[in-house]
Amino acid sequence: MQIIHDRNPAMPKSWNRDSKPHRFCPGCGHGIFLKALGEVIDELGIAERTVFGCDIGCSLLAWDFFNVDSVQTHHGRTIPVVAGAKRANPELIVVAYMGDGGGYAIGAQHLVNAALRNEQITVLLANNSVYAMTGGQMAPTTLPGQKTGTTPYGRDPEATGQPTLGPEMVAAITSDRAYVARGTVANFPRLKRYVKQAIENQLAGRGFSFVEALSGCPTNWRTNAKQTWSYLDDEMTKYFPLGEIKVPKVSEEEQQ
C-alpha cells in the first residue's frame, strides 16, 4: 500500500505558509522555480538577510510567497530596486524575480546595465514565452510560429525578430566574476543547483548572477499536461539551450 504523504516533499521553511496554496495557475512553472529558491534560502540559512523582489505580471503574485522581506514593483524595475537596496546595505542578499517581458523587453535596460556594472545581485527570470497575466501576448521569447494573442497566425521572425537569448546576452557583457545559467522547471535538481550557485556567487561577493528558467504556461498556451511538458522540454529547448553559460573564476585565495 502506498502512503501518499511520504511522497509529498516538505514545504521549504522560507515559504510563507499563510499564502499557500499559492495563487499561480495549475501547471504554472513559477511554483517550481520558487521552490528551488526556497530550498536554497533554507540550505544557505540566509532567510534573515534575504530580500525577495518581484515584478509585475504573474511574478507579482509572489509578493507574500516567502517568509522573507519582500518588495513588489513592475516593468523590470525590480532590478534597480534591489540594486539600490544592496548598494545601501551590502549585508542584504537580494533577489530580483521576474518574467521575460520585464527582463527582456520593458526593463531590458536594467538587466543589461546591472550586468555591466556587475551589481552584487541575483536575477531569476522565468521564461514562459508569453506575456501571461495580460492574456498571452507575444513576448521577446515567443518561438517562431508560436500562436499568441498578438500573433494569431504564429510569430513571424521576419516581422518581429528571433526569440531573445537572455543568458547568452548577459554572459556576453558580464565580467568573469558573473554567474549565468539557463535551467528548466522540467529538471528541478539541476535548476536548484543553478539557483544555489547564483546565490552563492552573491554571498561570495563576486558579482552579478543570472538564472533563466524555462517555464510552462498551460493557461495561455492552451495545452494539457502532456502538451505542456512536450512544449517545455522538446520545443523550447531547441531555441534555448540548457546549461551553465558562465561560471565565475574563483581566485586561489577564495579556494583556500
Partner: protein, 366 residues
C-alpha cells in the same frame, strides 16, 4: 560623522551647488542620479563631496533606474535622493508613483527646463503640474517651490525632514535659472539652529521582522481602504506643512500671484507699483502641493482683480482658479510666458493695463 559646517558661513555659489551642500547638511546618505541639464551639477558637486563625508553615489542607466534605486536605498534604511528635469521628470513619475503607493519617503530635486519634450535646457515653470500631479494617482506629494538660494538651502533641509516625517514623496522644485545662477547665502548646520534631523528606519532587512511590501492589490475595496488612509494622512500633513507668503495692500485693486523665481519679479513689480500709488497685493504659494487654498481665498476675497504670472501657460493659473472657485468674483488674468523669463517691467506693464488710473485708485474703498 564629520562636522560639515563648524560655524555658519557665507557663500556665493550656484543653486545646484547649494543643493549638494544642503543634502549633505540634511544627512543624505546616497544619491542615485542620471545626467540631464540643468540639474547635472548637483551630481558633480555631490560626487566631489560625498567620499569626504562617507556618503554614496550611483550613476544609473536612466531616470527610471535612478528613481527605483533611490526607493531601494530608502527601503534599505538610507536617506536617498534623486534629481532630474524635463523629460527625465516624465520618466521619474513611475518610481514616484510607487513611492506614493508604498509611502516611501524620498526627496527629488527638479530643475525645470523648457517643454514639452526635449525643448530647451534653459528654464521654465512648465513642470509644475507634472511635479504636483504626475503619475497614475492622486498627487499625494509635498512640493516646495523655492525663489532664492537661501530658500534652496533652507527648504532642502525641510524637505528631507518632512519626507521622513510624513512619508510622502517630497520635492524641491527649482528651475534652470536657480540651478545655474550664483547668489549669496548662509550655509549652516540645522542642528545648531535647533532643528533635529529626522531619523530613518529600514523597511527591509530588519532582524526578527518579516515585511512584505507591495503596490499591487487584488480587489477594489482593498485599494480604496489603503488609499483612503493615505488621503487622510496627506490631508493631515497638508494642514501642518502648507506655506505661503502674502504682502502689499490688504484690499488691493490687483493681486499678483506667482511662485518660484518668478515671484522675485512680481515682488519687485508689486513694490514699484505701490510706490507709484497703486493698491497692489502679492501672494506667493511656497508649497504648490498642498496648495495654500484658504490663505489665497482670504486675500483674493478682498481683491478687485488677480494677475497670475508664470513661465508656463496656465499651470499655476489653473491651481489658482481651482482654489478660488465659488469664493471670489475677482477676474483672474494671466501673464503667461511658457519657457521664458519674466521681468518686473513686464509685470508692471501688464498690471498698469489692468489697474484703475492713478488718482482714482482707492476711491472705491474709502
Amino acid at each position: 560623522m564629520d562636522t560639515i559646517f563648524i560655524k555658519e558661513q557665507r557663500a556665493f555659489m550656484t543653486g545646484n551647488e547649494v543643493i549638494a551642500w544642503a543634502a549633505l547638511a540634511a544627512g543624505a546618505d546616497i544619491m542615485y542620479g542620471y545626467p540631464i541639464t540643468p540639474q547635472n551639477e548637483i551630481m558633480h558637486y555631490w560626487t566631489r563631496l560625498a567620499p569626504k563625508y562617507g556618503r554614496g553615489f550611483l550613476q544609473t542607466e536612466d531616470e527610471l533606474s535612478a528613481g527605483f534605486a533611490t526607493l531601494g536605498g530608502v527601503m534599505a534604511g538610507k536617506k536617498a535622493f534623486c534629481a532630474t528635469a524635463g523629460p527625465g521628470n516624465v520618466l521619474m513619475q513611475e518610481p514616484i508613483s510607487m513611492a506614493e503607493m508604498m509611502r516611501i519617503p524620498a526627496v527629488w530635486f527638479i530643475q525645470q527646463r523648457g517643454g514639452p519634450s526635449t525643448a530647451t535646457v534653459i528654464y521654465s515653470q512648465q513642470e509644475t503640474r507634472l511635479t504636483c500631479f504626475g503619475g497614475n494617482g492622486e498627487g499625494l506629494r509635498l512640493v516646495y517651490s523655492t525663489a532664492t538660494h537661501q530658500e534652496i538651502f533652507d527648504y532642502t533641509l525641510k524637505a528631507f525632514n518632512h519626507a521622513w516625517r510624513y512619508r510622502f514623496p517630497t520635492f524641491v522644485l527649482g528651475d534652470g535659472y536657480q540651478a545655474k545662477m550664483r547668489e549669496a547665502l548662509t550655509l549652516y548646520d540645522p542642528q545648531t539652529r535647533g532643528t533635529q534631523l529626522q531619523s530613518t528606519s529600514p523597511m527591509l532587512g530588519v532582524k526578527g521582522k518579516v515585511q512584505h511590501h507591495r503596490n499591487t492589490f487584488n480587489i477594489e475595496e482593498e485599494l480604496y481602504e489603503t488609499l483612503s488612509k493615505h488621503l487622510a494622512e496627506w490631508q493631515q500633513m497638508a494642514r501642518e506643512v502648507v506655506e505661503w507668503s502674502v504682502s502689499g495692500d490688504e484690499e488691493p485693486d490687483l493681486l499678483l500671484v506667482a511662485h518660484g523665481v518668478v515671484s522675485r519679479a512680481t515682488m519687485a513689480a508689486s513694490k514699484q507699483l505701490r510706490e507709484k500709488g497703486y493698491r497692489v497685493g502679492h501672494f506667493r504659494p511656497i508649497t504648490l502641493r498642498p496648495f495654500p487654498i484658504t490663505a489665497l481665498q482670504e486675500i483674493a476675497g478682498k481683491s478687485q482683480q488677480i494677475l497670475v504670472v508664470e513661465s508656463a501657460h496656465g499651470q499655476l493659473m489653473s491651481l489658482v482658479r481651482d482654489a478660488l472657485y465659488g469664493c471670489s468674483c475677482a477676474p483672474v488674468h494671466g501673464l503667461l510666458r511658457p519657457g521664458l523669463g519674466i521681468t518686473a517691467e513686464q509685470v508692471i506693464r501688464q498690471a498698469e493695463e489692468l489697474l484703475p488710473k492713478r488718482g482714482y485708485s482707492g476711491a472705491n474703498h474709502s
